[in-house]
Subunit: 477 residues, 4 copies
């Protein structure tokens, strides 16, 4: 059973280390732990590339970090510089050739890159490259990005200059880590859609998508990498190129609502606090008279606490999650009555019986899970089930690295809120008002955010033909 | 990384179905879902045996339910009667030949059995059987039990009579399901150490270790099987043999504290409520002035809520669990500074910083995890960390189906509470008083319980040589 | 693709070592090499059990020796005494629980056994054991044999005495190796149906089904174990019990014709020489005017050489075998024209074109392969294809450890030789005369043989109900 | 155990089908059978790409054909055009990214290619491409070749024109199959180092490295593709571009001696006949008085027959091969006396005892196996062992697609023939004279051949820095 089959497809995560303590730190192993901590950002494939002073070695494959790596292959990845990647999971086009890091040989030697984000002008750039004779071995935009960096490198004095020039060519969302012989480069797009931060272990440096990955290797958080910034790490330390900084930020608000781990801090704002604040705002905007506030495990729990605090209605557990759900769950037959939601979650009869429940979830995509949970709670004796969603309804496509389904699959595009309420069988239903978003991110300190999936306000121009030219899938990495 | 390496080894779980609706229910598939729901009772191995009116078919193997079964092998298990088993996980003696159900051929045809519990006189019985020429292919007591049933069957008019006679020979803890051609028998030892309940789907019957497994297949809970009761299910319905009922019950109190799933109801008592009550009793017995009550995920969370309610100190999240931990986690090198607790759990700095924390866990075995979590919380800024344990200290071995480590591994056998407090670095430490146990089980309605692991008061006689005669491991199933 | 899908199912092979040179010999590893050399005797499953002075350790599984064993599991099998087994391959009832060695615990400790052969009175013995309360976990006769040895052991002064007594109870074919604490016992049935020999490496002893396995570990061949003999090996050396020796021998003639490896010497006769002699006898009995003698690779090649020598017609290659055929060959679709025989073998057009060919094979079971090979040769330009079979037609079931299909699958039971010739499209067809068998075994020195599968002359009484009582399969080990 | 660890590393094999009978032929399945027949040309990896009228689908992986493909993945490869590849096996640099077919997207859509051979100017071409900004994802020369075709395609009117232009740029050995939307192109280098032929099934066309692959799918052999020829196959039939034909041929003589399968016919000459002729020439050049001629299975057997015919000394079997040798053979410990040659081959004592033996092998690389076999034969009683090699000594590197070890590993580069004789313990030793090569290929009809590995006479210029510029391995495909 897919972990979150009625959720927005997650993105990717990157991790990198420049290790100056090779006597007691092991780069590949630390990267393994870092990817473990970033696993929520992608479960389809993962990989690690190391530079051992002489050559690059890569191991990557389909599956979770603990499935792809074992002591044997981790041990073979010797080297003091390493980058790693986890890739998001969708059912359709899972192709081994899309696993990252992408490693290439070019005029200047070897280069490895891991990429979180999505270029909005990749189709256009790809067409241009092809007309000059370029060939591509995958359909994702990371290969476009690497080719552009490689070409710019020809007439640049070093790789960071090539990255700087590439940033004027590519548009969209990207947090990347690039490794060349003895050098690590990390860069974040000018709007800063996707998070990227830097930390330190003694005199070694670590770059990661989220701070939770720094914690997993006991690195000290130094700072977020700024939107537009290029950070260059080598044995002489850390240098920064800020020529592209200064634009208005567009931190993805959905990182705070759902994507990121609650123990991460992104652009100075605690994801946990943002999520709790979302619950509070939701309680303010759509209060309801009830006996208990519950969250849908795991992603709705924190907002439920916030809702409870604001509403002064007791917080409690109403649903129990089976923590042994694997990825190869055998689906029930059509004719059978049990279903996978039932296997994954169960109502706590002793807690919900006779009560008026408010159930908080972070989002509704298709609505199928919500309907089943409400039925389950009522079957367990809940008198009322009021549904509250800690984000606004999804109405627009995302071009910046998340996998929002097409409009005909989004329940909010096809139905009014009242219709949705009826479809899922809730006694009442409310979403977070779109204007409350600023309170849960900017209110806590984020300097500009993107809410285009809810509002349609895109902070960069989307090429008109983006939809049409896309290859076999949107460029998601 | 083992999920709970500093926890008491879990036991086993059983599931069975007698399916009278073969047109739309699939016995093997329902058993699969049932075992999925019981996975917390055993992660080492699992298996399903079906009777298809003609022969028994079995698939079993090492690993989790989702690893051992796939659509192919589940589909090949056709039949309307099925039994299944999940076996506990320890690192040492994981042997394929111990996987259950155990299936044998004997004078009366085929018989399959799945067993949760532990016989205290298995060594003695085994020696007796061997002196009559019996051979054994495993070291576990289930094989002893099956041989006794098979022998008693020779001079009995049916299998239930053989089980009834066997119950006068065997001593200790057992909840078993037995399948013969077209018949299902479920039996529970006279003291009722391990849970066993029966449910219904239309006119089909389901037996399971816990009610959460009934819920997973949308069966309606009928009742607990009584201590000493034998339930016989065939196409004519359900019959009960209660000749062995009537003794004082000895429900395992640790089922309520840790083993069972919170959404299960055992002997009329909600595990969730018992666990919350344990938190309340703990707060009454060992109050502490603090700013926030947190639980160690996942097993300490409910008691933490109870502690918070009783103490009127706010409940909050202080630790975040990585929900992607696999079983083949690569252990860190000795010389590396990160460790697996760090990968599994992370402190929520934004919540704990500057606060006096009360951290609730359900038990302390070796104390190693507790020490690491306290260090982690303090590193994240907690001013104080007070540890409260929702059970008394483990002091005595369990002979009834749980895997308590030897005394020299139990921290409470070697150290005073004050010494433990110092070892784990807590600002204060308290355990649940042993006399509070009756409040959290009998107080809620359980009719007699076993707390021998805490008190040394064994409710059945333990043969003097149990320790010595044991083969290569205690008889744990 | 099954290696020899139109061949008689092969039997099993056993290997054992009592190692007195543990400083430089590794028992499990030598057993691995021995089983490798015996792989032709069974491809379904294999296993090794070692005694390390303290306990027995076993690793067994489905598949070929190189699939089941790797450095890891071989290394974990420490111990100076070891026994191993390869089990034959059939498509139907391949069950993991039938893999050997069978290891049991009984009154006197642990006992492991590996068995090649088939008891003819196993059903009867099993019924008797069951009526005394015995249970069985498999359907094969080895478990019956072990139970009988275990029971006899109760009132015997040692295990060899128990084996001696068991030999008066069991009837049929068996070559067994038995391991107990610090002792190895090898025994062969009174008629000596299946081979068993003993060899030496310095002061260590090796027992194996065939001499080729002795060669593989560079052991010096000492002698065949006599029919009826029990050999006991311990640290004091080798002892022999010959109380059961002296009956007329019944060496399986088909070991010489097909089963055994050509480099083995069984009961003093070279399999290679016997096979070549079969070709000579065939040429004498059924000469044919032709241009070239070819054999069907690999089993027909030696007899083809013998035929060529006798007939003075040149020996040559007419068919080339693909040496990369794996066991998981994807079968062609029904509607496709190529087939698996075509993939496995190809005609050598340059050699056969325009020629009159005599093609030698060791046997015909269903005749399907023969027909395809004749078509293939004719398609490649052969003017005539005369088929000669180096054994008589199969007409009777074998109760002694080989898997001859039922009569309705044996082409020779349903058709005259002329009909078979027409069915397979040969220009002429002849089988080895049944009376020539004595020349190819006794003529070379074998002292009595069994040819019941060709003649119906069984050298032990077959219980009347053997066919009927058999469980789900004949007792083949 | 590697199948031929003391042999020259084999090359690659290609297969392709343009299927006009999609109603009853299955392209991927036929390609699977074709690759099965070509497995001897490469065991490291394999792959198949199909065009289904809409998109290309590829499955490839490390391992043998029967390991990489199963019914599931073969079934998913729907499409009427298919190409396939098997890649050679060496121990060192087996990298998944080197598996073929290589599939790229470029300006004109999708293109897939499979390649057997080696470009001598790949380094030079690669440097040129890199200086124009090209990136490479592997280290093999096939990626260079694809990039050149893709670039030439920009200004060509179709893909065959691009291939034609590419053939003026690339130098060395290549037999390629290229697939684009609805078109199949096969091309062979101007010297024709590597074989390539075309066959027919009704109105469908098949291209393969060797005729044995045509036989495996029951295709009728049409003809060899000429050196320099480009064959274009589409739904309108077959067209040929011969602009590059007409140079002197350089068929690799070692294809006849060892690489190719004996049932293949290359450039009109039967490999079997060539191999037999080599034996005859060897007997003429280096006769010896002996009792029996034997071959080292399997590759020395045919030459041994030729030697026997010429010398009138009887041909016989002296060594028996274990036909169950797997690729994961566990190597013996250093201190153990048995070794892997012993497991793989055994002497036939009954045949060799007391005889003077001539043992024929096709080549000597390191000499280690030869020494062990001679010891084995003498241990089995052979009075004398005379070694005869059916090729001249390896003295020079091959730049055309075979993996000849470095000079310091070639025994013939370091020792005189007399020294080698002593090292391997032969009573006499002789190689095929270099001038006899023409008799075994040209004598049978081949029109020009390459024997550079023996003579140093390279038929194309080798760039001076070929050795130096090579990346991490010679360009072997």
């Amino acid at each position: 059973m897919q972990e979150n089959y009625d959720k927005i497809g997650e993105e990717c995560g990157v991790f990198a280390i420049f290790n100056n303590n090779a006597d007691y730190l092991n780069s590949a192993r630390l990267t393994y732990y870092g990817l473990y901590a970033l696993q929520h950002r992608g479960q389809e494939s993962c990989g690690i590339t190391v530079w051992n002073g002489n050559e690059m070695k890569t191991h990557k494959g389909m599956g979770l970090v603990h499935e792809v790596f074992d002591n044997g292959n981790i041990s073979s990845l010797d080297g003091n510089v390493a980058i790693g990647h986890v890739r998001y999971s969708t059912t359709g086009s899972s192709k081994p050739e899309n696993a990252q890091p992408i490693v290439v040989k070019y005029k200047k030697g070897s280069l490895a890159m891991a990429h979180n984000g999505n270029l909005v002008n990749a189709s256009e750039l790809r067409a241009k490259l092809e007309s000059m004779g370029s060939i591509f071995q995958s359909t994702n935009d990371s290969e476009v990005l690497v080719q552009i960096i490689a070409r710019e490198r020809i007439n640049s004095k070093n790789t960071q200059e090539a990255v700087l020039k590439a940033m004027d060519i590519i548009k969209g969302a990207y947090s990347i880590v690039v490794m060349t012989a003895d050098k690590l480069i990390a860069a974040r797009d000018k709007q800063g859609f996707r998070p990227l931060c830097i930390g330190k272990i003694d005199d070694s440096y670590v770059v990661a998508s989220e701070t939770c990955a720094l914690d997993s290797v006991k690195a000290t958080f130094l700072r977020d990498i700024e939107p537009g910034e290029i950070v260059v790490i080598d044995k002489n330390g850390v240098n920064s190129i800020k020529d592209n900084c200064g634009q208005k930020h567009s931190s993805c608000v959905f990182e705070y609502i759902y994507f990121a781990r609650t123990d991460s801090i992104i652009d100075n704002v605690s994801v946990y606090k943002a999520r709790k604040e979302a619950g509070r705002q939701l309680a303010k905007a759509s209060p309801v008279d009830a006996d208990m506030i519950i969250g849908v495990p795991d992603s709705g729990l924190v907002s439920a606490m916030g809702f409870a605090e604001e509403s002064h209605i007791p917080y409690g557990d109403g649903l129990v999650k089976n923590r042994y759900i694997g990825r190869t769950f055998i689906q029930p037959d059509q004719k059978q009555r049990e279903d996978s939601v039932n296997i994954k979650l169960n109502a706590l009869r002793s807690e919900v019986e006779g009560k008026r429940i408010v159930m908080i979830d972070d989002s509704i995509v298709r609505g199928t899970t919500s309907a089943k949970l409400i039925t389950m709670l009522k079957h367990a004796g809940a008198r009322q089930v009021h549904m509250r969603i800690s984000s606004p309804p999804f109405m627009w496509p995302c071009y910046f690295g998340t996998d929002i389904p097409s409009k005909d699959q989004l329940i909010a595009c096809k139905h009014s809120i009242e219709e949705i309420r009826q479809l899922i069988g809730a006694d009442s239903l409310a979403f977070l008002p779109i204007d409350a978003l600023s309170k849960i991110v900017e209110g806590l300190g984020v300097n500009g955010y993107c809410d285009a999936c809810f509002s349609g306000n895109y902070t960069v121009d989307i090429p008109k033909d983006t939809e049409k030219i896309k290859f076999d899938k949107p460029f998601l990495v």
